[in-house]
Amino acid sequence: MQQALEGSQAIARAVALCRPQVISAYPITPQTHIVENLSKLVADGALNAELVSVESEFSAASVALGAVAAGSRAYTATSSQGLLLMAEVLFNIAGLRVPLVMTCANRALSAPLSIWNDQQDSMAVRDAGWVQLYCTDNQDAIDTTIQAYRIAEETELPVMVCMDGFTLTHTLEVLDIPEQAQVEAFLPPFKFARSLDPDKPISVGTLVTPEFFTEARYTHHQALLRATQVIRDVSQEWSAISGRRSGGLLTVSGDATADTGVLTIGAIAGTLEEAIDAHPPGNTARLIKLRAFRPFPEQALREACAGLKRLVVLERALSPGAGGIVGAEVRAALSHLEDPPEVFNFSVGLGGRDVPLETFENLLAAIDKGSGHDFALLDLQPDKLPAEAW
C-alpha cells in the first residue's frame, strides 16, 4: 500500500512484516527512529516480539545472536560507533554462520565526531563475513530488508542492509509498503538447522585448531561467493511478487551507449541518475548502481562495464593512507579484462557534506583534467585546509 512515510518508519514496517520474534535495540543517531518505531509496533500489539532494550550495541548484537541460536528470527539496527562497538560480535556471527538481518544506517566514524552520512562505518567491517547490500533509496531499503531475511536464511549468512543515514532514514517520501500476504508468500517460517535444542544437543562456537581452521574459513568464503546467485534469484522472485524492479547485484541505467561510466553505491545514485538523464546523449554516462558489495560481484561488474573507455568510481568513504575502498576493489576486478576501462576514483560527501546535482558535471570536468587517476576527494574545499596543507 502506498503511503507517505519517513524512511525509518518504513524500515520498521518492513521488519515487522518479516515477523522477527526478538528485536534488540540500542539507540544511536540516525537509526534510532527505526527501533523507536518498532517499539511502538510491539507496544501496540501490531508485532508479537520480545523487544530487548540492551545496554550497548555490543549486547544488541549478542542478544540477537543468542536469539537466532535459540531458534528465533531476530533483528537489530545500528550506525557508526555502534557498529564498531559490536564489531567483535559481527565477525563471530558470520563465522558461526548464523542467519541474522541488521540495518546499518550509514554514518561517519569518529574521530572527528560526526552524526552525518557517509559509508565509512559499514566499509570498515566489510571483512566481517556478512553479506552487505547498499540501498539506493527508501523503496529499495524496504524491499532489500524483506529479501535480506530470505537471503540470510537460505545461505546461513548474516545480512547487513546498508542505507544512508539521515539521507534516507529521515527523508519522508511516497513508499509502497508490501502486504503481509506478499511477504508470507515469499518468506517461509524461520528454520535454522543448527539451532540449540535439548532434544538434539550440539556444541556451537568451539575452538578450532590449525588442523581444521583453513577449511572452516574456506567454507565461509565459498558460502559468500555462492550467495551471489542467491541474491540475484531472491531479487527476481521478489520483483515478481512486488511488481517492482528490485536491485539484484547491481543496476545499470543512464546512457547505454556512453563510453564513460559512473559507478556508485548508496543514495547519491538518485541525484547522479537525475543529473545524467538531464544531459544530452553524447555528453552523458552509463550509471552503475552497485547494490551487493559483499560478496563482491566481479562477474556482474565486468559485464556492466563492457565497452566502457572510462569508469569513474564515486564513493562515500575512504581508507586513510590508501584511498578509495570501492575504487580499489573495482580496479582489481576490472584489471582481469582484456581491455579494461581507465578507472578514476573519487570520494564525495564525507561526514554528510551535501552532494548536489552539479556533482556529475564536476566529475566529468575533473576526469577531463586528468584528476582521479590517483584517488581524490571530489568536493574538497582547499580554502578550509590549514595554511600548511595548501
Binding site: 545496554e55 542478544v63 531458534g71 535439548p198 544437543p201 556451537v204 562456537g205
Partner: protein, 328 residues
C-alpha cells in the same frame, strides 16, 4: 563401528543426568571442571548454555570433540550474559519451557563481561548466570583480574621488591549483583558439592535472574597440588575468606556456617601464589594481618559463626530435605 545411542536412551541409562562428559582436557584437579559437572547435573537436560571464552570452553571443545551433552554455545569473552539474554527472549516468545544458563569465569564476569551481566540482570531475564571464580585470567596464563584476592601474585601482579602482589581488594561481585534487586544470588564452593546442586536447583526455580558465584581453585594458577583442590576450597570457606551465602532480593537469607574458623594462614600457606607473604618482610606480615582482617570481617558481616541451618553437605541430606526426587 560406533553405535549411536539416542539422547533419550542415554539419559535413561545414566544414574544421574550427565551434561558434562569425562575426557576433556582440563588440568588435574581443576575446580572449574568439577563445578561445571555439578551445575549441569543439577540443572538437568532441558537447558541451553551460553559460555564465555575461558578455560572451560577451551578445554571442553576442541573441534571436533565436545564434552557437552547439552545444547551449548560459545560466542565471545564479554557477552555470555547477553547471549543468554537473547536465548531467553527467543524461548519466551516460542513458549518453550527450556531454560537458559549463562556461564563465565571471573574475567568474563567481573571485568570484561560485567556490562553485559549488569544489563541482563537489570532487564530481569529469566536466566541463571554462573560464575566460575578461579580468581585470575587463567586461560591466558594466570593474569590479574578484579576477582583476585588482595596480595595474591600473578604474572601481571607479581610480588617483587616494590610490590606485594595485587594491591586492590577482591571485587564484591555478589553484593553488586544483589544490588540489581534480583530474586536470588548466592555463593558456593566446590568443597560443598551438594550445596552447589541445591543452589542450582533453587536458582532455576526462581522466576527472573539468578546468580551463582562458585569458588573454584586452580591448581596451576594458585600453586598447589591438584590432589588437594577440595581441601584448598574448603579452607577458603572455613577461614571466612570465601563466605558461602544466599541472598534474596539483596537480603541475606542463609549462610554455610563456619563454627570454628581456621586462621587464614592455613589457607594461604598451601598456595605458592601467596608464598611471598611468608617471608620475614614487615610488609608481608602486614598483608597477612590485612587478609586475616578481611576474613574476620566476613565472619562478622555474614554472621557465619552463628548462622546456617545446614550441618551436613550431602546429596542424601539435601534430597531428604527437599522431599525426594534427585532431579526433575
Amino acid at each position: 563401528m560406533d553405535t549411536v545411542i539416542p539422547v533419550e536412551e542415554l539419559r535413561r541409562q545414566q544414574s544421574r543426568f550427565s551434561g558434562f562428559e569425562a575426557g576433556h582436557r582440563a588440568c588435574l584437579g581443576c575446580g572449574e571442571a568439577l563445578a561445571a559437572r555439578l551445575v549441569t547435573e543439577a540443572a538437568g537436560p532441558d537447558v541451553i548454555y551460553a559460555n564465555a571464552t575461558g578455560c572451560l570452553e577451551v578445554f571442553t571443545t576442541a573441534w571436533p570433540d565436545s564434552a557437552w551433552r547439552v545444547p551449548w554455545m560459545h560466542s565471545l569473552f564479554a557477552n555470555a550474559a547477553a547471549i543468554g539474554a537473547g536465548m531467553e527472549a527467543a524461548l519466551k516468545v516460542q513458549g518453550k519451557p527450556t531454560q537458559v544458563i549463562a556461564m563465565g569465569g571471573d574475567g568474563g564476569t567481573f571485568d570484561i563481561g560485567f556490562q553485559a551481566l549488569s544489563g541482563a540482570l537489570e532487564r530481569g531475564h529469566n536466566m541463571l548466570y554462573v560464575c566460575y571464580d578461579n580468581e585470575a585470567y587463567m586461560n591466558t596464563g594466570i593474569q590479574r583480574s578484579s576477582s583476585m584476592p588482595h596480595a595474591a601474585a600473578t604474572t601481571t601482579s607479581p610480588a617483587g621488591r616494590e610490590r606485594m602482589g595485587k594491591r586492590h581488594l577482591k571485587k564484591d561481585i555478589v553484593s553488586i549483583v544483589a544490588a540489581h534487586h534480583i530474586p536470588y544470588a548466592a555463593t558456593a564452593s566446590v568443597a560443598y558439592p551438594s550445596d552447589i546442586h541445591k543452589k542450582v536447583r533453587r536458582a532455576m526455580a526462581v522466576d527472573g535472574p539468578a546468580f551463582l558465584h562458585i569458588h573454584t581453585p586452580c591448581p596451576l594458577g594458585w600453586g598447589h597440588d591438584g590432589a588437594i583442590t577440595i581441601e584448598v576450597a574448603r579452607l577458603a570457606v572455613q577461614t571466612g575468606l570465601f563466605p558461602v551465602i544466599e541472598l534474596e532480593r539483596g537480603n541475606l537469607v542463609d549462610v554455610l556456617p563456619v563454627r570454628r574458623p581456621r586462621p587464614v594462614k592455613d589457607y594461604l600457606e598451601r598456595q605458592t601464589r601467596f608464598r611471598h607473604l611468608f617471608t620475614d618482610d614487615a610488609r608481608a606480615r602486614e598483608e597477612l594481618e590485612h587478609l586475616q582482617a578481611i576474613a574476620d570481617h566476613n565472619i562478622d558481616r555474614y554472621r557465619l559463626e552463628a548462622g546456617g541451618t545446614d550441618i551436613c553437605d550431602s546429596d542424601s541430606a539435601d534430597t531428604v530435605r527437599r522431599g525426594g526426587a534427585r532431579w526433575a
